[in-house]
């Protein structure tokens, strides 16, 4: 089942067209990374999902229900973490979660249990200080706690890690990894290593259009360039082996850099294993043999160019 269905949505602010004919689906239990440069339209899209902004045209559905601007009943399915969450500074985390739970109508016992669970999950248990004195990372963690309080079907996080130091980022990603077992997670980011760590599918937004979407594994597969890198131990005559390899029909290009060979395969079946077999027949002393995986970073840079 699709948790999010966006159909041909357009949005512009004045003259500036921010979202152009955007259509996308997010399946249940996915961890969906929403990528894009600054200003690509990520936050705009998320705010439309929450009914905070009105699309100029097109339709958005959450769990099969249409999102209505200004009074989004669909928000009961959603936990939302804004990019810089703001809280009432005069409350303690416990009081704040109490307020959130009471607004959504959680039963008292459930609310108490969930509050304890959530504060433990984000590591703020036993913290009875007022939120006013919290660091950014603590606020971000409390933001996740309030978003997950109602066990939402969908967790939307707007750049949850962008403003944090490495430790804070790791903490947030760890919490999201725990959350993904129970809920669908959509999060926007431009930190690509975060995507590789926890996302199973991604959508890349470029200038208001969806430039690419799919499962991370599929995308990596389709962008695989059939490149092999080989490191030889020193002292071996690299020119000789290059010459021999160049004549092989399964190799289209070969370059060298010091003791490293960069081999572009021609795309024939089993080309990679033929290279390996040839190298061992020639008794070439190998230090490293690697079939290069495309990183999300390379894919991203290629797509948004």
């Amino acid at each position: 089942m699709s948790i999010i269905e966006i159909d041909q949505v357009n949005k512009s602010f004045g003259e500036v067209s921010v979202i152009k004919d955007l259509s996308l689906r997010v399946e249940e239990h996915a961890v969906y990374g929403f990528l894009g440069k600054n200003g690509a339209g990520k936050t705009t899209t998320m705010k439309m999902l929450l009914g905070f902004l009105k699309p100029d045209s097109g339709e958005i559905k959450i769990c099969g229900e249409k999102v209505i601007y200004g009074n989004a009943r669909t928000n009961r399915y959603i936990g939302y973490l804004p990019d810089v969450p703001e809280f009432y500074g005069y409350m303690t985390p416990k009081e704040y979660l109490g307020l959130c739970g009471e607004i959504t109508g959680l039963k008292k016992e459930v609310l108490q249990r969930r509050t304890v669970e959530m504060l433990q999950l984000v590591g703020l248990e036993g913290n009875n200080r007022r939120i006013r004195g919290f660091s950014r990372g603590m606020k971000q963690r409390l933001g996740i706690a309030q978003a997950l309080l109602n066990e939402p079907k969908l967790l939307i996080c707007d750049e949850p890690t962008s403003a944090l130091d490495p430790v804070g980022r790791k903490e947030i990603l760890d919490i999201l990894s725990i959350a993904k077992g129970k809920t669908t997670v959509v999060f926007s980011t431009h930190i690509l290593s975060d995507v590789e760590r926890i996302c199973d599918s991604v959508g890349i937004l470029d200038q208001g259009r969806l430039a690419l979407q799919g499962k991370v594994a599929d995308i990596k597969n389709s962008y695989r360039k059939d490149v092999i890198e080989v490191d030889l131990s020193s002292g071996y005559p690299i020119d000789r082996i290059m010459k021999l390899l160049k004549e092989k029909p399964y190799i289209s290009e070969i370059t060298s850099n010091d003791l490293r060979l960069h081999i572009q395969l021609s795309g024939q079946e089993k080309a990679a294993s033929q290279v390996l077999r040839f190298l061992s027949e020639e008794e070439v002393p190998l230090l490293r043999y690697e079939i290069m995986e495309p990183s999300i970073e390379n894919v991203f840079l290629e797509v948004v160019q």
Partner: protein, 254 residues
Amino acid sequence: MRAFFVFTKKELVEQLRTYKSLILLSVFFLFGMMSPLLAKLLPEILSGMELQGMKIEIPEPTVLDAYGQFFKNLTQMGLLATLLVFGGILSNEMSKGTLINILAKGLPRYTVLLSKFTAAVLLWSASYGLAAGVNYGYTEYLFENTAVHNLGFSLFCLWLFGCFIIAVILLSSTILSGNFGGLILSAGAIVVMLILNIFPGLEKYNPITLASKNVALLLGTATSADLTWNVVITCLLTLGSLLLSAILFHRKRI
């Protein structure tokens, strides 16, 4: 309904912990205390001063001087304090972004407005009631002949005007963005009402008359019948402001 009570409770806690209640209550307590005292002591203070041989003769202060002081303080400094304390109740939350989490949880926007109005009216009523109570008690204690006309109605008029101003603040905050949107536009609205009162024909309908005829009511030179239209129109304008702010807030981009 449940969400309304929860959010109103949050507003009241906010008033308490951000010292809004403390400020407004103590300012109004002071006004209630000071007004009769000043009226009573002013002649003595002035007569005690030797101004280069000049002697200022002031007639014996009456209970009307006390109430005159009271209404003057409340309609000037009191109103200013009220504006300052309540001016940011919506604007601040909008510009800080604290409402985003709450609205994302599905709290209807009109509930936010209604809760804020209710909580503000509660604090205004408590402060105003305190001022009026202290003023009444002190006046009774300090002055002998304390009979005045229309005291209850006169007090009610100013109370109603305060409620109206709170509704105007909410409306202003939904019209203008920014930290001081609510404050500036409300102050502007008061200035406009003051200017309108220059035209004698409009005085009968202008809400601000509720805050300017208080002493006349006590003197008996104005009667409650004279202000009926003002009361009716202020009630309608208060409701209208709330309704319009709900509509505007609903459309507001967050």
